[in-house]
Every structure is written in structure tokens, then in C-alpha cells.
């Protein structure tokens, strides 16, 4: 006799906020979550890609908000508006991120402050709302997209590494604070995946540099969908006993 497991990745009936949804990992995550049945609210600083994406998502209704997450002070209001218009949340995926490749000796304070604001402070400003009954539906999952740069050094990435490593510490402490509410908090640490951010970097590399970076990944560069799959695994019932940890999805980058 064959028994059929329920679809453990089913997200029907849930509502997720996804930042950086206009491109790359955020966009792939929004598309996957919607295809698994979730309603998604898309947040990005660019309107055009959100409008195009939302028209092509299954299920729904979905929503979109144009917002620059460097404005950390306004994030409570952003979340309040989203909840009031679209209902309480089951979780969020913070995929928005920014990077400037510049050595420590030259990077300017305004550059690293913007990196920290978008990558790190916005993550805390968003996720702490999951402790509020008016925001959180009751139980759920928060996923921060960090990076292998949080765990392995890379010249020119000091500010980016700092911003992503902070997410790991934040996830562990938030996981303890939110566990009584059945809200889980985790990070995904991707290697280099083919996204607009990588394309920008690639324009500054010659062919041999590009090959050298790809060779750091025994499985080659990843795709945004590879990270979206991990986010869905953490958000869905498959991740119900996972909190306060970092899931490395890097094609073997850190195995060396």
C-alpha cells in the first residue's frame, strides 16, 4: 500500500512579506512562494519590476510597496500599512541587499552606513514586528538572506561582510525572543548566484577573474531559484523545528 505524504511545502493560506522582490533572490522567492500558495507582499525600491512581477504571480491577491529600506525609521509604519491593507503576516524574507566592493582603507562612512542600513538594520526593523500580535498571524518564519561573505573573508567586501555577519548573530538572539510565539528566525548564506548584483560585479572583472570566482564554487555559480528553494524549505512545515541557524547554500564555496 502506498501512503501519500501531504505536500509539506504547501504555503496556502499564508501571507509573506518579501523585500528585494524586484530582482534576483527576492524575485525568485516571491515567485516560488506564490506558486506554493502564499499571498505575498513585495517590497522594493524600484516600482517597475514589482508591477511586472505581480501581474504574473499565481494565486493571490498579492500586493506591492515601493520603499527604500535605508529609511529604517519608517519601517514600522511600512509594516503597519501592509498589515492593515493586506492582513497579518506569517513571516518575511529579507532579500534586499546592497554592496560596494571597496577596500577598507578607501570606503567612506556614508557607503558603509547605507550597506548596514539596508542589509542589517532593516532586517531588525522588519523582523521585530513579528513579536507584535497586530502584525503576526501566530507562528511563522523569518528568513534573512546573508552571504558566504559573513563566514569567509574577501578583499574589498569588508562592509558587506560586516553587514551579513551581523545577521547571523541577530538571527540567533531573535530566534530565542520569538520562539515562545512559534516564530522561527534563520539565515540563508548563499554563495555567488546569478543575479543583477553579480552581473554588476562581473562587469568589473576580466574573463580570468570571473573564472577564478566561479571556480571557488565546486558546483559553479548558483541560480536565484536555488536560494528560493531553501527559503521555502525554512518557511514551510519542513522547517518547523529549525530556528536560530544558518543554512549555507553555496555550491560548495565554504567546503574548501
Amino acid at each position: 500500500m502506498t501512503t501519500h505524504e501531504p505536500n509539506l511545502l504547501n504555503l496556502a493560506g499564508s501571507h509573506y512579506l518579501i523585500t528585494g522582490a524586484g530582482s534576483g533572490i527576492g524575485r525568485a522567492t516571491a515567485a516560488l512562494f506564490a506558486s506554493l500558495g502564499a499571498r505575498v507582499t513585495l517590497v522594493d525600491c524600484d516600482e517597475a519590476p514589482l508591477a511586472e512581477l505581480i501581474d504574473n504571480l499565481p494565486n493571490g491577491p498579492h500586493a506591492r510597496r515601493v520603499y527604500d529600506l535605508a529609511d529604517v525609521e519608517g519601517i514600522d509604519d511600512l509594516v503597519r500599512d501592509i498589515v492593515s491593507a493586506n492582513g497579518r503576516l506569517h513571516g518575511m524574507v529579507h532579500a534586499a541587499g546592497t554592496q560596494v566592493v571597496m577596500p577598507a582603507r578607501d570606503i567612506k562612512p556614508e557607503m558603509w552606513r547605507r550597506i548596514l542600513a539596508v542589509n542589517t538594520e532593516a532586517a531588525l526593523a522588519l523582523a521585530r514586528n513579528m513579536a507584535r500580535k497586530r502584525v503576526c498571524q501566530g507562528g511563522g518564519s523569518v528568513v534573512f538572506i546573508s552571504s558566504v561573505m559573513a563566514m569567509a573573508g574577501s578583499a574589498g567586501s569588508v562592509a558587506y561582510s560586516m553587514s551579513k555577519a551581523a545577521l547571523h548573530g541577530m538571527a540567533r538572539s531573535l530566534a530565542l525572543e520569538l520562539a515562545p510565539l512559534s516564530v522561527r528566525v534563520n539565515c540563508i548564506a548563499p554563495g555567488f548566484v546569478r543575479t543583477p548584483m553579480l552581473e554588476r560585479l562581473e562587469r568589473t572583472w576580466d574573463a580570468s577573474q570571473r573564472d577564478a570566482v566561479e571556480a571557488l564554487h565546486p558546483l559553479g555559480f548558483g541560480e536565484a531559484q536555488d536560494i528560493a528553494h531553501a527559503a521555502a524549505f525554512l518557511a514551510a512545515a519542513t522547517g518547523r523545528w529549525i530556528t536560530g541557524t544558518v543554512l549555507v547554500v553555496d555550491g560548495g564555496y565554504l567546503a574548501k
Binding site: 560596494v100 566592493v101 577596500p103 582603507r105 578607501d106 578583499a155 574589498g156 568589473t204 577573474q209
Partner: protein, 74 residues
Amino acid sequence: MEDFLKEMADILDEESVNESDRLDGFDAWDSLAILSVIAMADSRYRAAFSAQQVRAAGTVGDLYRLLSASAKAG
């Protein structure tokens, strides 16, 4: 040009630099300095250059002309 020269002086860890100065004459002209020039080009000129292109510039002035031409083209 004046702002560019100040920026280059910071990157090269010098009090000041001139248009005619050869880049390979500076102790600080290394792979990290090249990264800084690439980032400066991106943030100030919205221009993307490879390390190879930056390395090919002989003088500070060559670099300025490379960045300016790209800004005009963009």
C-alpha cells in the same frame, strides 16, 4: 577634475596628485587601489570598468579621460 584628483590622492594615500603622474609610480597603486577606482567610477560616474581597463591607464590623467569619456557616452 579637481574633485577627481582629490579622490585619487585619497586612494593613492598621497597629499596630492597631478594629472601627469604615472600610476605605477605610486607605492599604493595595487589591486586594492584598482578596486577603489572601479567603485569610484561606479558611484560617481555610473560607469563599469574592469580591472584590466583601469590597469591599462598609464597616468592619473589617462584614468580621468577614461572615466569622463564613459560618463559622456552614458
